[in-house]
Amino acid sequence: MSQKISRRDFLKITGVSSAALAALTGCGPASRFVVRKPYPDMPEYNQTGASTYFATGCRECPAGCGLIVRTQEGRAIKVEGNPDFPVNYGKVCSRGLTAVQGLYNPDRVQGPLKQASRGSSSFEKIDWETAIPIITSALLKNEPSGVAFLMGLAPDHLYDLVAEITQTLGSPPPLRYSALGMFEGRTTLLQAVNNIFHKDSLPFFDLANADYVLSFGANFLETWLSPVRYSRAYGSLRQGIPGRRGYLVSFEPRQSLTSANADEWIPIKPGSEGLVIAALTKLVAEIKGIEGASDHSELDVAQVANTADISLKKLQEIAHAFASADHPLAIPGGQLASHANGLAATQAILALNGMVENLGKKGGLFLIPSTSVASNFSEIQALVSRMSRGEIKALFIHGVNPVFDLPSALGFQEALKNVSLVISFASFPDETALQSDYILPDHTPLESWGYQHVLAGADRPTYSASQPVVVPLYDTHATADVLLTALKESGKVPYQDEVDFLQQKLLPLLQRGGGFYTAPEILTFWSKWLQYGGWWTPTEGLEKPNGSSTPPAPAANVAELQEGQFFFVTYPTLFGDGSGANRPWLQETPDPMTTVMWNSWVEIHPDTARKLGVKDDDVVKISSPAGEIEASVYLYPAIRPDTVAIPFGQGHTALGRWAEGRGCNPLQVLNVQFNEAGDLAFGDTIVSVTPTGRSRKLARFESREGVYGSQH
Amino acid sequence: MEDTFHLALFHEDQLDQVAEAIAKLKKLGLRDKDMSVISGVPFSEKILGRPMAWTRVPYIALAGAGVGFLVALALNVGTVMQYPIRVGGMPYYPIPTSIVVTFELTMLGLLISTFLGVFIETISPSFGPKGYHPKITDGHIGILFDCPEKMDEKVHEALKALGAELIHRSEVPRS
């Protein structure tokens, strides 16, 4: 498209290096004369020394926030939130803020590469003219069933395109996976919503207007579904409504940031969540005088409290407060879904919301009015087994790093060996890219076009628009363009290129109307779409869920620990699905709870540590039947004494200088076991902890003394 | 004149004799300014019956202290006037802090000018009789005097009688 080309041409990058050089000399004696190269043709909206702002979409996690990126002289300077965007309203998280460090990461793959042999890290530069026919033949020459796409969780244009392509070709639909999706139990949540409300969409919890909130392992202030949206809502929950302060109770074995901000943190025994929900349901039903909760009638609440390690009084208090609150809300989270009874427990939560009649009400539970699809874990396992049987001839991987993100017990890396052609579209030489035959790098998000359908955090139908804010730095190609070019000859796809695809996909929005802007034709629509950074409706548009099916009570699922065994909790950090680990400033941003930077740690309760004879910074070995890892101990006062926790995100063996060789990957000790929804029941992993006698100092931002112990 | 120059050396414990010699020389008609006592150890003029010597060092020192004080004042007030900068919510002319600076600079002025005073007076020309002998720094006391040639004999005799060792200028090693 001519328009596309001209726009890209505008963003000339000349003169950048010298300008940056000038910025770098900093405080020192500036060189007397610096060569500056002005544009041969000045873009009309550009002025030397003045910033240009572009609206685009954040693609650091599947939440799909809207961004405004400040650029100057063709460089992306700063990521800011798009104030109008109905997910984040001008706010951003640490992850999104460091997008520029992804863009300007010196370890990026700078052009298409062919690897001599997998894992050899010896690359040969190829050009796109050579690369694209390889894709063409992989897509067209193979059995359609032998072609597989593994993609990230983002509900973006590329997924839509690949879904279309696979449909046309007759291949299986693309699988989507992200460690974040696993941690938030997305499939389980979707399944539960489907079972209870008979819709394929994610729920939306109106946290901002609730006044008594129960959270079962939902770390909505960190990574769960749409963290920025829920953080905003949390602010409103606290001080948004004058004279009222919402009350938040969190049930989790390890105090996450969300639990830390809760008014009450209940360190529940891992696996007993389902029982506690059942008990709460029973108590609430009793208080409210609701009949029909017969399934729960035999439940011995005192017994449950005992099993879950909660005082009965507390449980009754919570039930009372919840039942009598004006806007009660119960939120099911990833830790809940991560047990074998996760689906039942999640369903029970949704039903509990129904019981207190907050469905579709202010401060209650809504449904996002769009369909969400996610692959559950058993589908991934099926893919892996097909791979190891050699049924997959060509595997395309985009937006996900399965070698790192999947539990090693699943055997993805071994299965990969039986795939004849593996093509990675990664922008970084990540673990998976190093196990593939070709790396055909996609642009980083700030260089690329696209849209993302917001499926979790918006209270209205919302699309975010991505546009390149800078000219692509290197010889990278948009994956959508690559696929389209590869199939152009065959005539199987009706699109010219990526932008054409995007515009055609936007046509329904234009025709449907209802957005906060209208346009007579697609080009006007397109320019407004880019200007505002997306499309959304001016008014709220959430669906009221209905459905009254009473789910079965969750079964008990509490493991008995042997001596020296511990429940194991792993949780995502600022690094999201682990791809943030190569951003130096994400590494240097202290973990909120432990203030540890640049490494992995094991959270152990001080009493437990004393029993084990370990202290801060001692290296311990965490082992499970699936594997073992080592990390330094962080004495964490807010974790159950029978539980240890390791954050997820570090432990990379590739992915650039800032990520490589730091910490450990807790997924290596996860057992492969599923819940009823087919999601990984990673919460049921039991590990043993052995001191190694070594010690390795963690980079802690906080003091090693004074922050607890003497400060009561 | 040069030929008529004399140095009478006394041993360090011949202090009384030195005083006596000075008195004798005076009696012989030499004036105070024709004589000069050089010694390896300071003796006050009174001991030797000499007139008070005279120095401007204290005045120079005082003047130096004054200069230091003025410089301090200029720095405390003047520099702020040149570029007023507010720090820590303090006034532009805080008295307590300026006292510290004033004290240091006044003392600096005083001490440096004391030294300069000594130095200047040392290198400025003096009009007494010149002459020196290394024995002075061995603790000997010397009386330098100018006297008319005709008195030489008499004076020498008198001094010798007191136990002095007489040295003529030509014998003094040039340094």
Partner: protein
């Protein structure tokens, strides 16, 4: 005493001192002199001709009105006029070369501030200052020449003469340094 002349009285010593002194002095003088020279420009741009023909400064350096950087003209701007005004000269040949190669002209900025000084043209223009007040009389220069002594004292000289109600703001360190 063995050598009749003290060290500082020997000619070798004195010559040595003189040479060292001259080197230091010469180095300093040379350093000052050479940094004050206008740098080598890719094109010997004749400011005097353009100013003499009545071209406004802001025509080529439009950023001065609205922002911190006055900006250097893009070659399309040069070429916009010089396509019409066909006057052949070796300098214009060079320009034509840059244009045909679509290469940016590697100008060497002359009036640059150190990186810790954040200068903004716009308020100065808004306050009614002329370009010449700081950049010298361009009508008398071909390529721009650096102006001498443009240090912080020079800036302050002007700022402290401004209206008293603006004085606090204008003498504030943060106005340039952040």
């Amino acid at each position: 005493m063995k050598n009749p002349k003290a060290l500082w009285q020997r000619p070798v010593f004195r010559i040595g001192i003189a040479v060292v002194f001259l080197i230091i002095l010469g180095g300093a003088a040379g350093g000052i002199y050479f940094t004050q020279l206008p740098p080598e420009q890719p094109i010997q741009f004749p400011h005097n001709v353009h100013v003499g023909l009545g071209a406004q400064c802001l025509y080529c350096h439009p950023g001065a009105v609205s922002g911190p950087v006055a900006g250097l003209p893009s070659q399309s701007k040069c070429w916009g006029c010089h396509q019409q005004i066909k006057k052949q000269s070796p300098e214009l040949e060079k320009l034509a070369g840059f244009v045909s190669r679509r290469e940016p002209i590697p100008w060497v900025p002359v009036a640059i501030q150190p990186d810790f000084v954040h200068f903004n043209h716009a308020p100065h223009i808004a306050a009614g200052l002329n370009c010449e007040s700081c950049h010298g009389n361009l009508a008398a220069m071909t390529v721009a020449e650096p102006q001498k002594g443009q240090n912080m004292g020079w800036c302050l000289n002007c700022h402290q003469k401004m209206a008293p109600e603006n004085f606090t703001r204008l003498s504030d360190c943060s106005i340039c340094h952040y």
